[in-house]
């Protein structure tokens, strides 16, 4: 048997495997919709927005658009991006949000005043993706909410207009406003074993969505800027779900297979 085609095929295969591993990394540094979660030992370095722990947590840009909710102003939101970073210790999950807002709205003392606010939404059941607009009756969401009055609340919702404050919350928050940007850290124990609360097994990725309200534009309730579903990369593996890698691998194997078949075909035609 002539060894050349086999060698060629083997080289091709190696090349493709290398491409499979390298190209995705070149195409996008990280899968779209992923919020990386850094492992940090010392929780005190994550408690505040400028804690050192955050140096280890790369942030992802999450784009926002009007929620389109059926309230006045439901399609006129003003904030269009929030940077989201996440980190975990053995006990707690931290999310750090930062967004540009030229007006710092921290009062609701007048009838026409509303405070800036931010919220993070996660499914109550970590492995089921709920409808993006506050979940549904049979697929509910937990919401971690903070506003410029320094109110932080853990909420449960099963559809628009249903948010209910959860009592005995272990949610903690820290916020600063600097150079036209809000920076807010929200954290909660990973495994909060009470009813209606997401329990993060930290063994799988968990969906997450973000909302931001600009008080000076009278944003509140469904008048807000919201993201699509992203996911917190809590699962195993270097980074995030492997689907992009799998796609490249399938394509690569496909090419190798086709090449081999072609070579074999040529050989047979030649009567080798």
């Amino acid at each position: 048997m002539d060894r050349k085609p086999t060698l060629l095929a083997a080289l091709l295969a190696i090349g493709l495997v290398v491409t499979t591993l390298v190209v995705p990394a070149l195409v996008s540094a990280r899968p779209a919709y992923e919020i990386p979660v850094a492992n940090v030992d010392n929780s005190t370095t994550l408690d505040t927005v400028d804690g050192e722990g955050w140096d280890e947590a790369p942030s992802a840009g999450v784009s926002l658009s009007s929620s389109g909710a059926a309230v006045p102003g439901g399609d006129e939101s003003t904030i269009d991006e929030v940077r989201v970073a996440s980190a975990r210790t053995d006990e707690r999950l931290y999310i750090r949000l930062s967004w540009a807002d030229p007006t710092r709205d921290t009062s609701a003392d007048d009838v026409r005043q509303f405070a800036d606010a931010v919220a993070v939404q996660v499914p109550v059941n970590e492995s089921a993706r709920p409808p993006i607009a506050m979940g549904s009756t049979d697929n509910r969401v937990n919401v971690w909410y903070w506003n410029g009055l320094n109110v932080s609340q853990e909420l449960l919702a099963g559809g628009p207009g249903t948010t209910t404050v959860l009592s005995d919350s272990n949610l903690e928050s820290n916020a600063t406003y600097q150079d036209g940007r809000w920076h807010v850290v929200l954290s909660r124990p990973l495994d909060d074993v009470s009813d209606n609360r997401t329990s993060f097994s930290a063994e799988q990725d968990v969906d997450v969505a973000v909302a931001v309200w600009n008080g000076s534009s009278m944003e509140r309730s469904g008048a807000k800027a919201t993201s699509e579903w992203h996911y917190l990369a809590l699962g195993p593996g270097p980074q995030g779900p492997p689907y992009e890698t799998i796609l490249w691998l399938v394509a690569g194997l496909g090419i190798v297979f086709t090449t081999l078949v072609t070579i074999e075909g040529v050989r047979r035609t030649r009567g080798e």
Partner: protein, 349 residues
């Protein structure tokens, strides 16, 4: 919708057993604000409610409370199906509480008169008695206003959380304080501006039609009419249920058509009705009465809609009857001093 014996329709909101209602006779209002104070001492004395007047009395024509509320939108479109969005007023438009020089006058020996520290330039009923028209035919009247506990309340519809609701037993519109998250869509959604934002509690609040009083929750357990009605010196308010066919409210509103709604074009179907004001005729330069109405009909129509003409015509006819010594059921009901007729709150128990 319920059909009464005499064939007139009483439209109740869906799912409501009965509907509380009030008739206010504007011909009796002396603008004394006793109702305002009665409500305030009961319900809005403090705790972020200082600026609120669930009951207010404003001079008409005038800007009212909050200032220019009639231009702030809210309510429903012409078909009564789509809400028209309204606006929010700042506290200034309601009238901030003024700081007085109590300290200086009472404790520091100042001999200045007691007065606000700053020059006030707006407040509830700030344009009291200004009215409109030219001497000798200037005119004004007083308009007491509370929440109308509407049949088709746009405040209820405005809330994305269903924090506002109409009570099943009597149609009173209430704000569930546990559900309210202070979004204020109800404040902008009510065209009468009768939902108020409590900046201390960060929730909305409003007239409760004194439900603990009408439920007999008072000290002696007796059923009492709302405070604003009971404390009114000229007793201009009748209180009862719109669907109580034997009561004066049903008769005045549905049978005789002399009690009309304020701004029916907002289409919330208010359940507070007004006997329109019947002013003395105009005077000539020399002080003679002339055949011309002092309050322009067009203005009354702006406030109470086209039904005001029929209402005023009927009142004129009924007054003439009394002048001729004849009986008038309408005038009977409007002048009774029997509290059992004025307040019929136990008919459905």
């Amino acid at each position: 919708m319920s059909q009464t014996d005499d064939g007139t329709d009483v439209r109740l909101a869906d799912g409501i057993d009965h509907q509380v209602a009030m008739v206010m006779d504007l011909n009796k209002c002396i603008g004394c604000q006793t109702c305002t104070i009665a409500c305030k001492t009961n319900w809005t004395d403090g705790g972020g409610r200082e600026y609120m007047y669930w009951n207010n009395v404003e001079t008409k024509p005038g800007s009212g409370y909050p200032r220019d509320w009639e231009e702030m939108g809210g309510g429903w479109d012409e078909d009564g199906e789509e809400r028209t969005p309204g606006e929010l007023q700042s506290k200034e438009e309601y009238g901030r509480a003024w700081e007085f020089n109590h300290e200086q006058v009472m404790y520091e020996g100042s001999d200045e008169p007691l007065r606000p520290m700053e020059q006030p330039d707006w407040g509830p009923n700030f344009d009291e008695d200004e009215g409109a028209g030219e001497y000798p035919n200037s005119y004004y009247f007083y308009l007491p206003r509370i929440c109308n506990h509407c049949t088709h309340p746009s405040c209820v519809e405005a809330c994305p959380r269903s924090a506002l609701y109409k009570r099943e037993e009597d149609g009173i519109v209430l704000v569930d304080q546990d559900r309210c998250r202070g979004y204020r869509y109800c404040v902008e959604g009510c065209p009468y501006k009768k939902v108020y934002y409590n900046a201390m509690k960060k929730t909305s609040e409003k007239c409760i039609f004194c439900y603990p009083r009408i439920e007999g929750e008072g000290p002696e357990g007796e059923v009492l009419p709302p405070s604003c009605a009971e404390d009114c010196p000229p007793q201009l308010r009748l209180v009862g249920y719109l669907d109580d066919e034997e009561g004066p409210i049903h008769k005045l509103v549905n049978e005789h058509g002399v009690a009309v709604r304020l701004h029916p074009e907002y289409r919330t179907e208010p359940n507070v009705y007004y006997i329109p004001p019947f002013a003395p005729p105009q005077h000539s330069e020399s002080g003679e009465s002339i055949e011309a109405e002092r309050i322009p009909r067009s203005y009354l129509e702006e406030l109470f809609g086209p039904d005001v003409h029929e209402a005023l015509n009927t009142i004129e006819r009924e007054r003439a009857k009394v002048e001729r010594g004849e009986e008038s059921e309408v005038m009977e009901m409007l002048t009774t001093t029997d509290t059992a007729d004025q307040y019929r709150l136990e008919v459905f128990d």
